[in-house]
């Protein structure tokens, strides 16, 4: 084996990675451009709003309420080590709104919505339904991608807001129940401590994560290989990519909002 072989291997991997980034970026730009140009498909947009938003509420609510409750328990027991049990309302609020609410909702959307979009579009591709759309003078990016992307950009921030509130409510229920906090005092501390920037960052993250989730589902679906194996690979790849990109975007956005 040539001594340069490992370098060549690394080089090929880097080039392949950059090519993938380029393809995803072009796909995203193309999808965004279709948001601004007619025709617009209202019925498909309404369906996407229902699928991504309304039907995700139960899983988002359940995730948030248990996370908020567990967070309250952790902070209480951890804070007790240095007599700081009283900070439970503040830390639950900041933890849910700044980090756990957006990230967990984003990951739940990646699991529920990205997989569903990828599987649906990939199945349409392997059964020639996407070719059929084209022959019926309908652009697949406009009909399949744009409505889902727009719906995710609009509705995931709303889901994050709902998740934040339910998560704080979970923490409140645990704190005012088993932990014995005063209810009015807990709410006052929560509301006093949160700042507009916390809420703004939460909603901005929701918007970014929604966009990533929808784009990855559509990108992998449209690029699916043949047969059941192709659909399976597209679905798996979409969820992996969406989850990693959501976590990376969370790191970047946290830096943008709170690094100063």
């Amino acid at each position: 084996m040539s001594p340069a072989a490992p370098l060549a291997l690394i080089g090929r991997a880097v080039l392949a990675g950059l090519a993938a980034v380029g393809r995803v970026t072009l796909f995203a730009l193309q999808a965004l451009s279709h948001l601004l140009r007619p025709p617009f498909y209202g019925r498909e947009f309404a369906g996407a709003l229902l699928q991504i938003g309304w039907l995700s509420l139960p899983v988002v609510g359940m995730t948030a309420v248990f996370t908020g409750g567990a967070l309250a328990l952790q902070i209480y027991s951890g804070g007790a080590r240095f007599s700081a049990e009283a900070v439970v309302p503040q830390i639950v609020a900041i933890g849910m709104v700044r980090e756990l609410g957006p990230v967990l909702v984003g990951l739940m959307i990646a699991a529920r919505v990205t997989s569903s979009i990828a599987a649906e579009i990939a199945t349409m591709k392997v059964t020639e339904q996407i070719d059929a759309l084209v022959t019926l003078s309908t652009h697949p990016m406009k009909y399949l991608v744009a409505p889902r992307l727009l719906a995710a950009l609009l509705v995931v921030p709303a889901l994050v807001a709902v998740g934040d509130v339910i998560g704080i409510a979970g923490g409140y229920a645990v704190a005012t129940g088993p932990l014995g906090f005063n209810a009015a005092g807990y709410l006052k501390n929560t509301l006093d401590f949160l700042e507009p920037l916390d809420v703004l960052s939460s909603l901005a993250k929701g918007c970014a994560f929604g966009g990533i989730a929808a784009l990855m589902g559509c990108y992998y679906g449209m690029g699916s290989g043949r047969g059941a194996q192709g659909v399976g690979r597209a679905t798996k790849g979409s969820v992996e990519a969406a989850a990693i990109l959501i976590l990376a975007a969370n790191f970047l956005l946290t830096g943008v909002f709170f690094s100063a």
């Binding site: 498909y41 199945t123 020639e128 339904q129 070719d131 059929a132 022959t135 019926l136 309908t138």
Partner: protein, 248 residues
């Protein structure tokens, strides 16, 4: 009407089309025959722009199909896909009226539904199937719905991709007869790809055989049985031995 010159398409190292030349006159029914994997579907998809050709020229009514307004270009075409390619999430009538519910051909919903029911009736399906989902229909009924969708906007050119694949002989005969009746009645130009010889004899005015990426033989359907071309003779008689290599 459709003129194809030196059309080539490769997928990696696999050269599927290697310089196809083909003409289809207005109102003519051309059937392209050839073994599996010879590029028949790629030929149709290249004409429609679904698969971009590597080289060559395709003109429809004298105008190059490359670089034109693709939506306007495709509004003259209808296509019946091999597997139907019906949209799973839409009821049958919305599949048929898909083009009439959106875009430049958009009509009021009630009118689009009435037209869809009319096309369904034309292919022998009653109004009771209109609100069913495609998955609730048999294979033969799905083909009929696909045919109704292909003719819904009265296209000038219709493509049929393996229209009888997967159907029993009786249903295949029904679909062949429907295709012949409807295309004659509409005066449409059609290209059908198939390896079902019963379809060829029922549908074709003219036949072209695609082999090794090129048009091997072309002529009127009446000349098919009298040709001396060994490739055509082997194909139409289904002989395992001959110039066409069969993997066994």
């Amino acid at each position: 009407m459709i003129r194809i010159r030196n059309l080539s398409k490769s997928f990696g190292a696999n050269a599927v089309l290697r310089g196809v030349d083909l003409d289809v006159a207005r109102g003519q029914s051309l059937v392209v025959i050839g073994g599996s994997g010879t590029g028949k579907s790629v030929l149709l998809k290249s004409i429609l722009g679904l698969v971009p050709p590597d080289a060559g020229q395709i003109t429809v009514d004298g105008q190059d199909t490359q670089g034109r307004n693709h939506e306007a270009f495709l509004s003259r075409f209808g296509m019946l896909f091999q597997g139907g390619a019906l949209f799973d999430s839409l009821p049958v009538w919305q599949n048929v009226a898909f083009r009439l519910l959106r875009g430049s051909l958009r009509r009021p919903q009630a009118e689009a539904r009435a037209l869809a029911l009319d096309k369904l009736r034309r292919v022998g399906l009653g109004p009771e199937v209109a609100d069913r989902l495609p998955a609730e229909l048999s294979g033969g009924m799905q083909k009929r719905v696909g045919l109704a969708r292909a003719i819904a906007a009265d296209p000038k050119v219709i493509f049929f991709d393996e229209p009888t694949t997967g159907l029993d002989p009786i249903m295949a005969g029904v679909i062949n007869a429907l295709i012949r009746e409807i295309t004659t009645e509409m005066g449409a130009t059609t290209i059908t790809i198939t390896h079902d010889m019963a379809s060829v004899r029922a549908i074709a005015d003219r036949v072209a055989m695609l082999h090794d990426g090129r048009i091997r033989w072309t002529g009127p359907v009446g000349d098919l049985d009298s040709t001396d071309d060994p490739y055509v003779r082997q194909f139409i008689h289904g002989h395992p031995h001959g110039p066409i290599e069969a993997l066994r």
